[in-house]
Subunit: 297 residues, 2 copies
């Protein structure tokens, strides 16, 4: 069930295609949790065959980011996938994905121009600036270039009919959909709702970094979003007013990176919230950067 | 046989795939000549079904380039394809290829940074700078970004097993191969040798721009290349010495843009020619920019 070579997984998928079976891909960086499992279950339900890819993609990490300490739990991931009924786990090495590339790393060094320099010896898929020069893209320059490039590679390797992405990474989801539309990729993108723990914390592999106290402080993201939605439902549409409600929840343990109101399809900034508005928040707490989001409706 | 809609050609190709037929794609900008025909014949020979795309791709033209006057001869192109036995000619409108895009045009405005600005609202496939910051890429900034982006789109629309490109556009061919390798595109790239007229002029749609006198002056490209190869075969390997042989052929009607010696796979510049060396030349004559190239062996 585990495949590490591109040639091997291609062979298997080709056989499925010959048999007329539909294929679903769930791209992940591993450290699988119930959020990933919900994606996997969707794929198992919708497709004849399901591939889960597990690859910590170096080119989407900035130099000051957590590439080295990012949790790697392949054995547990395999167990989870096996129990769920996944057909193939594709877990390639970095070399398998970026061979023949003198400089797949270091990744983007920050800033629009610098991020381009990582591109001296490798072909990149670059999503539009209008979608990447904001939100997470602001503090993670080049991040979405790395994401789109590896997703395009995985799409070409697995050639799925459907690919499953979590609403948790909302900006990523919009950008992937835009890439699929712009480049006519013959794959249907399926999104799955955010999965939360019993306290409302959005599941994330990075939650593992949190101390016990940090987990408590981390609840602030969902609290702010829930309150904003409540205010909207009471009739407040002014984005500035809605945004200011956040401060009641923030304390000295929280570093607010952004709280933004955008159109859910185009990521255009809103001054007045409506039913198509997506609210996104990023907060650093306990030295862990966390993100969350919700639709107004 | 003519299809103009993406949905229509997809439907047809899907049917072929279900029948287990192999598909060849010959991407062109139309104004088809015997050079294109040699690509088409290769595809017809190698594949069960052949698609020729005819699309003058705006995003690969610079603002001072010949987008508007580029020859458009769809009726003649269709006739040529029909007589050759092509299954589908895919000739989409600009809107069909770049709909939902506020700014597919204007194309890159020159310079590495500026070329990125065209990317505000559209996903681009950007080949590595090492391959594009030289030869034709130097005078046509952003050109290969536009080429790779449209080729990726065509690949995703047609999903061919094989795609055919002419050796005439040597830098383009190397860059397309690199893109296919880097992004794991499941398509085999087949190259076809340069086709020349009886005087040795490499066939090009842009030859139509030449006056009678211009056609004579244009022979200089092949003359220079042929002489360089002859010198190499006599034992001269020093690139500077080989390059200087060109001046005997150039006159006041010629504006030499470049004459370069590179590795045929990596486009790395050579100081000493060997059997893997590719020589490329670009000359402006009669106000027409012409390119040509040859292998040392």
């Amino acid at each position: 069930m585990l495949k590490t070579k591109i040639a091997d997984i291609r062979k298997e998928v080709l056989q499925w295609k010959k048999e007329g079976l539909s294929v679903g891909l769930v791209p992940t960086m591993g450290a699988l949790h119930q959020g990933h499992l919900s994606l996997i279950k969707q794929s198992l339900k919708k497709c004849d065959r399901t591939v889960v890819s597990v690859f910590v993609n170096p080119i989407q990490f900035g130099p000051a980011e957590d590439l080295d300490k990012y949790p790697r739990t392949l054995e547990a991931d395999l167990e989870l996938c096996k129990n769920a009924g996944v057909d193939i786990v594709f877990a390639p090495s970095q070399n398998e994905m970026y061979e023949n590339t003198p400089h797949p790393n270091p990744p983007p060094q920050g800033g629009r121009e610098q991020s381009r320099l990582s591109n001296d010896f490798f072909t990149y898929v670059i999503p539009p600036f209008f979608y990447t020069d904001k939100l997470c893209g602001k503090s993670r320059p080049g991040h979405f270039d790395g994401v789109c490039t590896v997703v395009m590679k995985l799409f070409n390797i697995v050639q799925p009919d459907y690919a499953f992405f979590g609403q948790k990474d909302a900006q990523q989801l919009v950008i992937i959909r835009k890439m699929v539309q712009d480049l006519n990729i013959p794959i249907e993108i399926v999104s799955c709702p955010i999965v939360r723990d019993e306290n409302g914390l959005a599941l994330s592999s990075r939650n593992q970094y949190l101390s016990e106290e940090g987990r408590k402080q981390a609840l602030v993201l969902n609290k702010i979003l829930t309150n904003i939605r409540a205010c909207y439902n009471k009739g407040i549409q002014d984005v500035k007013a809605l945004g200011e409600t956040a401060f009641a929840f923030l304390n000295e343990h929280h570093e607010l990176e952004y709280l933004e109101f955008v159109d859910k399809n185009t990521l255009e900034n809103k001054t007045k919230a409506d039913d198509d508005t997506l609210v996104l928040i990023a907060v650093k707490t306990d030295n862990v950067r966390l993100i969350d989001n919700c639709f107004m409706k």
